[in-house]
Symmetry: C2
Subunit: 164 residues, 2 copies
Amino acid sequence: MAETAPLSRFEVTFDVEGRNDAKFRNDITVHLRGPHPASVELPTDEGPYHDGDGTAPYPLAYFASGLTACIMTQLRAFARRLEIPLTTIAVKARLHWQAQQRGREPYESSPVAFTIDLDLGGGASTEDKKRLIEAAAKGCFVEQSLKPGIVKHRLKVGDDWVAI
Amino acid sequence: MAETAPLSRFEVTFDVEGRNDAKFRNDITVHLRGPHPASVELPTDEGPYHDGDGTAPYPLAYFASGLTACIMTQLRAFARRLEIPLTTIAVKARLHWQAQQRGREPYESSPVAFTIDLDLGGGASTEDKKRLIEAAAKGCFVEQSLKPGIVKHRLKVGDDWVAI
């Protein structure tokens, strides 16, 4: 008789140091803590809208990559765990925000929708692909940090895109 | 008699293309759309936990930089608009998640807290610094996309850290 595997928890912690001395260049260092520590320099800058110097990617470009890569990573990791065949992952994502302001007062921003379209190779059934995407979304640290309902996933099935 | 400035809206849109052919390396290109388009390559990889090759930053490292840099950028932008003196911005942020799994089933993740500690130079009053941080948080596209209550800001006042 199969035993139920025990429930376990683990923590993921990142520490960040940021420094800005003038204009829009932010010098940022990110440290992964825990058993496999790693540090990386990820500076940001602004472009013409804020009159920045464009010396580094926009903060939102990092956010956009992190959101897209998070579910890709979990698809790969969980395909193994669920024994669902997966060769290639091709993604197109769109992140759309609005902001409003009165004159030159500080603006207020809000997300409209983040859509993630997924084309999964490897010949799994549509049902298995959906199951994999649902598991990956629950495991994705970025998506689970977002306001519910913002992220919408679609799966390529033949020539169509099917909402998950 | 002063007129009230008109309310205006603007859109911010990023498109992302992601490709993964094997293991955990994700090739990611991020495009800012609109009047000042810009594209950047922001690949990701995993390290020892997922048996990745460590060829690029973790997805969550990009997310951590994007979150931290977002409010720094708005502090700089809105200090001008609010005419609050601001020289240096020094930030320490901590992003903390938990995940739980049964055996080797896919895990489910959830954010615990993202704390952002801000030390603002320039000699503004504590009241003005608080007003600036509150405006920056409302304008920050990343923070406004997150579940309410996850992000906690603290301001350095003398030798103390004061919750905002």
